[in-house]
């Protein structure tokens, strides 16, 4: 520890602290622009100059290390004089047109110039003009305002992992730009808007929509991936105008992924369902709530009367709230059916009944930063979990060694020490090989359940490298990604990975696909449990039911079977769809549409991947006649005479699921599955499909956010294959191919795809008719 005195206040700071950090500790504000606690130190703006005892000149607080006994004055005459001098330099070439600048009212330069600027500019030459850049659909530029603090440049290379922005030219001609008109394509790009201390980088979708001070700021939680980023939703006239990060060091730090930030555009998309609708004689009619609800209740009653209690079932999206999920399952169980599931893209449920608890990350998110070894199995990590991947990226800089096994890779923009890329049908074998190598490396035995499976397995050098890496760590973890959970042999992959973790002394986790992937289990929105064993998602989607309650999902895009699922559902006698959106496809298979409120218009809880229950309140009024989902479910329950649906507040529902203090009890989080035996099936040798669910196709909101849909990541799915696979099939990269006999896509050579595989994104209308996300598929030239 070092002693330092700042503005007369004594304090102790750890070795290696900077004067800026020390000043922050005593609450002494040092003006700054280039300094940002999450970025490397550039010390280029010079705004943070402070007076240091014995130093002949003012020193930048951000870059000056504290030395023992140092005395610092942040607002002495010398310091303020230096700061004012720098401010004058910053302003000489900066336009002074705050009233028309989009940053007006939230501009650090504007704020500071009030305190440090001079009234009249002494600079009377012409101001510099810098050409604007097209950074893509999300970030708008006004480069003349840029003060060259390079925060955005450092963000792309350090946080997002790829230097997409640079400072070209030099001296007064220095300019922030991408390489020759490239756009900024990182899935974290919106953060540069927050980082820019002036109005050079602003939000394109938000541009000139409202002034900062006209909007109210409300807290919320992201409904997208399983991280549960904390949000500030900015609202004007009951419309969401903008979404910003709410800093939470334990979760999203100060960042947001672009989907957290820009999906709000969907809230006012043309497809919002504002009134209940029923289909009568093939015609859709808008109606009132009581008519619609009556229709649902009568439908369920009569179907159950005709076909038995379990002829109805419910599917609920993992992006729904904990309360909604709980009520969906209570409703079903209340009317005597155990057919309920939220695991919509999962196909292998053979672990059901063998699980000790809800699958979760297996560790607090914040602790991921201390890992030194990590194996990620079956994940399109960077795009599936942008900010968790970002944490791992930072961990790698501190010595974390990352290994990954999957059937296709794209650039994670971080060093991956070991990779194993195998076809889906080879995933289990690949994991077994790692397990085998671990047995050899550690000298420990795998459990008896693996004895047979390990017979004759030999560890490849890649498998061995992964095993050695894991075994050499002190804080290791093994995580299962979305693709591992959606895989046809997910239970086997889970079992082997669990054993790998066990042998390596690593923590074992399941990252989880959606905002409430953990919550779905906690809420009991699964077909098994103490009460009985109903149909799981696959059974409901492939065997058909007579009546469906679909909650917050689009069957053709959100389930493992795409259009086939929609078709099967369409055959039912009654399909009630609770949804914020009306889509053409839904109009085909549904019979009733009940408009429910999206996350901004309702209250609820998302349980994120670390098992943290985060509650949120509505930030705007529900649109039109739409109503919070929990209220809709309550009325249906009451009408059906289900016990316990007589609550008034959402909190009462919450209490039934969570601890008294609103937490998920630790014991309910457990990734352990009971392993009896492990059988590994081999592929048949045909071309296999590998699917990612592309980042802006993963849920109903992002699919309807226009700016997100204009990004590179939202490009149409392609049939991606390795050069060898293309060659074997006689297909040219860039030509059209017919896959699965029905869909024509552009073929694209992709070195990252395992041999004999074709990577085709799911969750997309273009590929919805292909059915299963993984498995053999035909690929032909057209």
């Amino acid at each position: 520890m070092l002693e330092i005195e700042i503005d007369g206040k004594q304090l102790q700071v750890p070795d290696g602290s900077t004067v800026m950090e020390a000043a922050n500790q005593v609450g002494a504000y040092v003006p700054h622009f280039c300094y940002h606690k999450k970025l490397s130190i550039a010390a280029n703006c010079r705004m943070c100059l402070v007076q240091v005892e014995k130093a002949p000149k003012p020193l930048p607080a951000c870059a000056t290390p504290v030395t023992n006994g140092m005395k610092v004055w942040t607002h002495s005459e010398q310091a303020v004089k230096a700061q004012k001098g720098v401010m004058e330099f910053l302003l000489i070439n900066h336009p002074l047109d705050c009233p028309i600048c989009d940053q007006g009212g939230e501009c650090q330069l504007q704020d500071l110039s009030v305190g440090y600027g001079a009234g009249q500019s002494r600079y009377q030459e012409e101001k510099r003009v810098v050409a604007n850049k097209d950074l893509g659909p999300l970030v708008s530029t006004d480069m003349t305002r840029c003060i060259n603090c390079t925060r955005c440049v450092r963000f792309t290379s350090e946080i997002a992992g790829l230097m997409e922005l640079g400072q070209a030219f030099r001296g007064e001609h220095a300019e922030i730009m991408t390489f020759v008109e490239k756009t900024v394509d990182t899935e974290l790009s919106g953060n540069i808007i927050d980082l820019c201390p002036v109005g050079a980088l602003t939000s394109k979708p938000f541009r000139f929509d409202a002034r900062a001070w006209e909007m109210s700021r409300r807290k919320s939680v992201s409904p997208h991936d399983s991280l549960g980023s904390n949000l500030i939703v900015q609202v004007k006239h009951d419309t969401v105008k903008r979404v910003l990060p709410l800093e939470n060091e334990a979760i999203n730090e100060c960042w947001l992924s672009d989907k957290d930030r820009f999906s709000y555009e969907a809230l006012t998309a043309g497809e919002r369902l504002a009134k209940p609708m029923v289909k009568q004689g093939g015609q859709w009619l808008e109606t009132d709530w009581s008519t619609a609800l009556e229709y649902v209740v009568n439908g369920l009653r009569s179907i159950q009367a005709d076909h038995g209690k379990d002829s109805v079932g419910a599917l609920v999206s993992p992006h729904s709230t904990l309360e909604e999920m709980y009520l969906v399952q209570s409703l079903m169980r209340g009317i005597g059916s155990d057919n309920v599931d939220f695991r919509l893209r999962q196909v292998d449920f053979s672990n059901d009944g063998k699980m000790a608890g809800a699958p979760w990350l297996g560790m607090p998110i914040a602790e991921t930063g201390t890992l030194d070894r990590l194996l990620v199995v079956g994940s399109f990590f960077r795009k599936d979990h942008p900010l968790l991947a970002q944490r791992v990226r930072q961990g790698i800089k501190k010595g974390l060694k990352l290994s990954a096994i999957n059937s296709a890779f794209d650039d994670w923009q971080m060093p991956v020490a070991n990779t194993l890329c195998v076809a889906p049908s080879g995933m289990a074998a690949a994991l077994l090989a790692v397990l085998k190598a671990l047995v050899e490396v550690t000298g420990k035995d795998a459990g008896p359940a693996f004895t047979d499976a390990l017979q004759g397995v030999s560890a490849s050098s890649e498998a061995r490298a992964i095993a050695e890496s894991l075994a050499s760590g002190r804080r290791a973890a093994v995580w299962l990604g979305n693709a591992a959970v959606q895989h046809g042999a997910a239970a086997t992959l889970h079992a082997i990975s669990q054993e790998i973790a066990q042998l390596a002394g690593a923590r074992f986790g399941v990252i989880g696909e959606a905002a409430n992937s953990v919550g779905g289990y906690i809420a009991g929105a699964i077909p098994f449990g103490s009460e009985g064993h109903g149909k799981n998602a696959v059974q409901m989607l492939t065997q058909g039911l007579k009546g469906y309650v679909l909650f917050n999902l689009e069957a053709e895009l959100d389930t493992a079977f795409g259009n086939q699922a929609a078709e099967m559902i369409g055959k039912a006698e009654m399909v009630a769809l609770c949804t914020p959106f009306k889509s053409a496809k839904a109009l085909e298979y549904a019979d009733v549409l009940l408009p429910i409120a999206p996350f901004t218009e309702t209250a609820g809880v998302f349980v994120n991947t670390e098992g943290r229950a985060q509650s949120f309140h509505p930030v705007v009024k529900a649109l039109g006649d739409s109503r919070p989902g929990w209220k809709v479910l309550r009325v249906i329950g009451e009408m059906l005479g289900v016990q316990g649906f007589d609550f008034d507040k959402v909190e009462e529902v919450r209490k039934r699921v969570l601890d008294a203090d609103g937490l998920v009890a630790d014991v309910r989080l457990d990734n352990t599955v009971r392993i009896d035996s492990v059988a590994v099936e081999k592929g048949k040798g045909g071309i296999e499909r590998v699917s990612d669910v592309s980042i802006y196709a993963a849920d109903a909101l992002v699919r309807r956010a226009p700016a997100l849909q204009a990004t590179k990541d939202a490009e149409q799915p392609k049939a991606r294959m390795s050069a060898a696979t293309l060659g074997r099939l006689g297909i040219q990269s860039g030509s059209s191919v017919r896959v699965g006999g029905v869909v024509v896509l552009d073929a694209l050579e992709d070195k990252g795809v395992a041999d004999n595989c074709v990577r085709i994104a799911g969750g997309h209308a273009l590929t919805a008719s292909l059915g299963a996300l993984f498995g053999e598929i035909s690929v032909e030239r057209v």
Binding site: I41, A42, A43, N44, C45, R46, M47, L49, P56, K57, P58, P60, A63, P65, A82, G85, V86, E88, F89, L90, I92, N93, R122, Y123, E125, I147, N148, Q167, F169, R170, G171, E172, H173, A174
Partner: protein
């Protein structure tokens, strides 16, 4: 060139840049002595300290002291860098050293590598003297083939390799941390210090950077002893030094003389004032050093202490001589343009301030000056100085301040009369600058 020196003297042979000629002149004897006698590193550094050799790159920092900063026990790579990015207006000595006597730099660097435990060195050579870069590459090849570089030098277990890296047109890369960035293949933007290169240098490893002439002095110091070197100059100012004399003299060129030699002697060596005109001003240490009046200069001896006492710096030893035909406003305008053009653009005061300075001087020069412009210039320089990442901010400010200080009336005349105090024809006669 004179025979008083140790670096550029005795270069009258055939192709003096070749290894054979260097060896004939006693080249590599120092290295051989070290290897043969297994002289300990400490003793070498001690000898350099004794010599009172001060860095020839501009700052005049004691070389032996700098070498002793290198963490000797540090495990892993350590680097050496030679600064041949000579781009300070007025300086052209390192070019001649590399052109005519490259092996003395190579030998100096090998010895430095030995003394500081570095395995690798780079010589960063100014891009504009590309022919010299090519020649240096050849010299390296010769040394490598002779077993003087690479593994197990001269059969010992000492290994050291040396490579050439070229600049490509950026004055700022002469600043030592910008130079390191540039070797790393980046823009030459100086780093904030601390950490200093001795702890965090090239590729983040401990690194020592010295000027070409500094390294070139090492073989003599080792061969003849630190005391011998010191005796060539005067106390605290050991050795001889190369002075690049340019401007209004009859024989511009490099002159190697003992530190402490009177300026008048140097001026005489350079053939005296061109056209017999009167000495008006001298920038004694490269364009970044404050200008001195001719009269003040005539009282100086050429060494760090004397020039510093007169209010300037010996700097890199570039002596820019200006006679009475010079318009000081025009001279400053050109220098200010240089710093404006060469600012790396990283830190605010320099990026914004150098342009401001140039524009104000330019408007004075073009007859658009305003009464308070000199105060403005002084105030802007005050806001730049000491507040930038590297010394380029100071380097841009000092000429402005000193020109105004010593030749203020000439600036005032310009502002008031919207023309030069020195008539155009006179200027043309002196420098052929302006065809009327």
């Amino acid at each position: 060139m004179t025979d008083q020196g140790i670096i550029l003297s005795g270069l009258d042979g055939d192709r003096t840049w070749r290894l054979a000629d260097y060896v004939k002149r006693g080249g590599y004897d120092a290295l051989k002595k070290i290897i043969a006698e297994k002289i300990p590193a400490d003793q070498i550094i001690g000898e350099v300290k004794k010599s009172a050799l001060r860095g020839r790159g501009g700052a005049g920092f004691p070389t032996g002291l700098k070498w002793s900063f290198m963490p000797r026990a540090f495990p892993g790579a350590k680097y050496l860098a030679c600064n041949s990015d000579e781009g300070e207006p007025g300086t052209f000595k390192d070019r001649d050293i590399l052109r005519y006597n490259p092996h003395t730099v190579i030998e100096g660097m090998i010895i430095a590598g030995y003394a500081m435990g570095c395995e690798r060195g780079y010589n960063y050579i100014h891009g504009e003297i590309f022919e010299v870069y090519d020649r240096f590459e050849e010299a390296l090849q010769e040394a490598r083939e002779a077993g003087l570089l690479g593994r197990n030098i001269l059969g010992s277990d000492f290994c050291f390799d040396l490579f050439a890296h070229h600049g490509y047109g950026a004055y700022i890369c002469g600043e030592e941390t910008a130079l390191l960035e540039s070797i790393e293949g980046k823009k030459g933007q100086p780093r904030f210090k601390p950490p200093f290169p001795a702890s965090f240098g090239l590729y983040g490893k401990p690194t020592t950077i010295n000027n070409t002439e500094t390294f070139a002095s090492i073989p003599f110091i080792i061969r003849e002893g630190g005391d011998a070197f010191l005796a060539l100059g005067k106390p605290n100012n050991g050795g001889t030094k190369l002075f690049s004399v340019s401007g209004h003299v009859n024989k511009p060129g490099n002159y190697e003389i003992p530190l402490g030699t009177p300026f008048s002697t140097l001026l005489e060596m350079a053939g005296g004032m061109r056209g017999g005109r009167k000495l008006k001003a001298v920038i004694p240490g490269g364009s970044s050093a404050p200008v001195l009046t001719g009269a003040a200069m005539m009282d100086c001896t050429m060494d760090y202490d004397s020039i510093s006492k007169a209010g300037s710096m010996l700097g890199s030893g570039a002596v820019i001589v200006m006679d009475e035909s010079t318009c000081m406003v025009k001279a400053l305008e050109r220098l200010s343009y240089f710093y404006f053009e060469e600012s790396c653009g990283q830190c605010t005061p320099c990026r914004e301030g150098t342009g401001w300075l140039y524009r104000v001087v330019h408007r004075i020069e073009s007859g658009l000056g305003r009464p308070d412009d000199l105060d403005l210039l002084n105030s802007v320089t005050a806001n730049i100085m000491g507040r930038t990442i590297c010394a380029l901010g100071d380097a841009a400010s000092m000429p402005v301040q000193s020109f105004i200080k010593h030749f203020g009336d000439e600036f005032a005349f310009h502002i008031e009369h919207k023309k030069c105090l020195v008539p155009k024809e006179v200027q043309y006669e002196g420098s052929k600058i302006y065809v009327a």
